[in-house]
Symmetry: C2
Subunit: 454 residues, 2 copies
């Protein structure tokens, strides 16, 4: 017989009214981003060609909380508050005394946590009179979320999708088009950047970013939108962790460890920052684990240095762990985690020892994902499957220690568009690539000149 | 700016405790199913080779309510209660005074309403000591739901998937396999029925049913499971309508019209039966609209007669509207609605004039689906898109009449696995097949000899 599902729901009035800005509580002074030309600290004015002032002010805010505009909360109600589950069947399957909880963000229409920020960004741009947003997308989660948000706020949406993904994932493209977005295969022939890269027909996130930024910078009624990395993006995601705090309280438990996957950092920051603020302020005894792919081990194998956010080198220099902006990770299915750098805020927390990072191989990750799906019923996206891998390890450690440790993790999206990867795993045909040490060394040798962060 | 989302949630304690058995309130005497050999009324004993007694008693129950076993409610908590939304953005887009509400069942892990019955069936079989369930699936929604339910109750699951769908929808197959099911391409070489049909390599639901029933009938620890049509299946789905009744009361509104798509009838019955019971008992003034595809117009163009539930002719004869069990509908994307017959309960309600049926063409249906997705953010499956087409027509009629009519419809699943159809529609390449009058006449000429229902 099956276990009774244990779930913690909140009422709509409990959708948070404010976002948590961890910048205000970060230990020490955070190094500023630098202008890519002058190498001087980049200011709000450097961002106005592609971002509205509402988002720029959030990006540089020193306030510990930022009020959520009511129209954004109004749209959040479509899928928020999201449920917190206790994974009783998984606990039984693992024969562990640990209590495992997960916060599930896959119930949004695009299927992940990404619309938490897409909606906030679409709102601020619409309020500023902007008519269209451009962006890049790899596997398609972020592009889908922005297409969804733009359709709700009456904005146009133009997405440059990495060529190889465009060919392999036609359904994510169809999803964006169903919501009214225009999707270009990148490199495209509609931008200078794209035409200059026509010798790289499979494309890359770096090229796609350059195309989207170029169009936004050239058109006054068009802005650019980013799905992770930046402070304001992580800020918007903190609705996840605030709801989880209230739900863990309803469960009557305190997490001993909070686990989330990390690519650019928006899912990790969204779940952990409200818990981290409590640790920083009150000295609570909570561990934080960031799970990343061994194929792109930014936090576990990168260096802490100033680097570009994109491959072409158009963005400000950001203080972060990086594998080098030239590094191209091998093609694992967790497309959302294939990024050479990481959010400066998350990197500062790793640097300060508040967050520990771990890297997992692709097959070990999918083994955990299938185990989870058969126990709990939800098929996870490959990205949060990395967190599940870490959780299973933590639960087994709790069993060996004989301790009823409380584990909370973020299940940031479902795997409905990743079933070809499950198919390959179940058939024993999933590749298990490692990163190339030579490629990383070459990319690190090409880091831009900038002040040392050592 | 976007509208604030209006949503009506229920607490977990409001998951219904009983299912609604409309059989007890049906006007007049319902004609009984007949044994396919003797043409005598079929009794419970005829069903024991493939169904557990718990489900057989539900199938023939005359009680107005059937208690939901606590382990079933325990699993329902994974995704129930489901939300009821008001479609304010769609109302604005249609410029209609109508108030449009929809009950959304796509939040379950398999993505539709199907697990409401899959979980109940898996529970009863597990409680009876059965080790494995067999079933057929066309597009894959039902097979996914049963694979999901079996994984939660520790049952084996063996699915025969119609050959053409098996080839075209590999992700639905991967989903079932991720939950641990074995999926056969039908016709398969593991059954007599399959081997006898090897000259029909693309398969059909009729062949797949024969294969699944054969294996269940031959193995004492294996039973067969059906995803629609039968009384007990519709019974299990009435959790949808009961929640919707409570949520409409919370909204302070009474529906003037309730709309749902109909294939085998489980989604339609699940939403409407609790409302229909009120109409039958209290004479409430509510209309009910059943939306079906013009390519398979069972209720609008079929005859009311005894017919087999499957193509091969193994099942009891059921009193229903039918296009003839030999009729093969043209390949529309709403695979869940491609059935030659319909639930006897729903057919009796149409026959009694309590339900009106309408048929819609494929392109008109997808036009409505895209309009809904862009306004409300959720991409519907092709099946409920038929209901949306009917709702838009109702809303436009309300505008013409200048009346603030209240419309409720069932959004029984998302379209994540149907985006190739959206792609074809957006590219102007979606076919718009009509049924063949000649094929229907031929199939009706092959109806089995049985008492007239005229």
């Amino acid at each position: 017989m099956s276990e009774t599902q244990v779930k913690f729901l909140l009422g709509e009035q409990e959708i948070p009214t404010h976002w948590v800005n961890l910048m205000a509580d970060l230990p020490g002074d955070a190094p500023p981003p630098l202008h890519p030309g002058t190498k001087e600290p980049a200011g709000p004015d450097d961002l106005t060609p592609i971002f509205p002032m509402g988002l720029i002010l959030q990006e540089v805010s020193a306030q510990p909380e930022v009020e959520i505009p009511e129209p954004v909360r109004g749209v959040y109600r479509l899928w928020r508050p999201t449920p917190l589950y206790r994974a009783r069947r998984l606990e039984r399957e693992l024969d562990t005394p640990a209590h495992i909880y997960y916060k599930y963000e896959g119930g949004s229409a695009p299927g992940s946590h990404k619309p938490n920020t897409a909606v906030a960004q679409a709102y601020e741009n619409a309020a500023a009179g902007i008519k269209k947003l451009t962006t890049e997308t790899g596997a398609g989660q972020w592009g889908s979320a922005l297409a969804f948000a733009c359709s709700l706020f009456g904005l146009g949406c133009e997405v440059w999708m990495v060529g190889s993904s465009y060919d392999q994932k036609p359904y994510r493209r169809s999803m964006m088009e169903t919501w009214g977005a225009t999707v270009h295969r990148s490199p495209s022939d509609v931008t200078e950047a794209g035409r200059s890269q026509s010798t790289h027909p499979t494309g890359s996130l770096g090229i796609a970013i350059s195309e989207a930024v170029e169009v936004a910078a050239q058109n006054p009624d068009t802005n650019y939108s980013l799905g992770s990395v930046l402070n304001h993006v992580l800020l918007h995601q903190t609705v996840i962790g605030q709801e989880a705090l209230a739900q863990m309280a309803a469960a009557g438990e305190e997490p001993d460890v909070v686990v989330a996957c990390v690519g650019g950092g928006s899912n990790f920051g969204g779940l952990t920052f409200p818990f981290l603020r409590r640790v920083i302020r009150d000295g609570a005894n909570t561990r934080f684990v960031a799970a990343e792919p061994a194929a792109c081990p930014t936090l576990t194998r990168g260096v802490y240095a100033y680097d570009f956010g994109d491959t072409v080198g158009l963005t400000p220099l950001m203080p972060m762990f990086t594998l080098g902006h030239d590094f191209v990770p091998p093609p694992v299915h967790a497309g959302g985690l294939r990024y050479h750098g990481d959010s400066p805020l998350v990197c500062a927390l790793v640097k300060a020892g508040l967050v520990e990072a771990r890297a997992y191989r692709q097959n070990a990750t999918f083994e955990a994902a299938v185990r989870f799906a058969r126990a709990e019923g939800i098929i996870p996206a490959p990205e949060p499957a990395h967190a599940i891998r870490a959780v299973i390890d933590e639960a087994e450690a709790a069993r060996e220690a004989g301790e009823a440790r409380v584990i909370l993790f973020g299940l940031c999206g479902h795997g409905h568009f990743d079933l070809s990867a499950y198919d390959a795993f179940l058939a024993g045909k999933l590749e298990d690539p490692e990163f190339s040490e030579d490629d990383v060394q070459a990319a690190l040798a090409a880091l831009p000149e900038a002040p040392s962060l050592a």
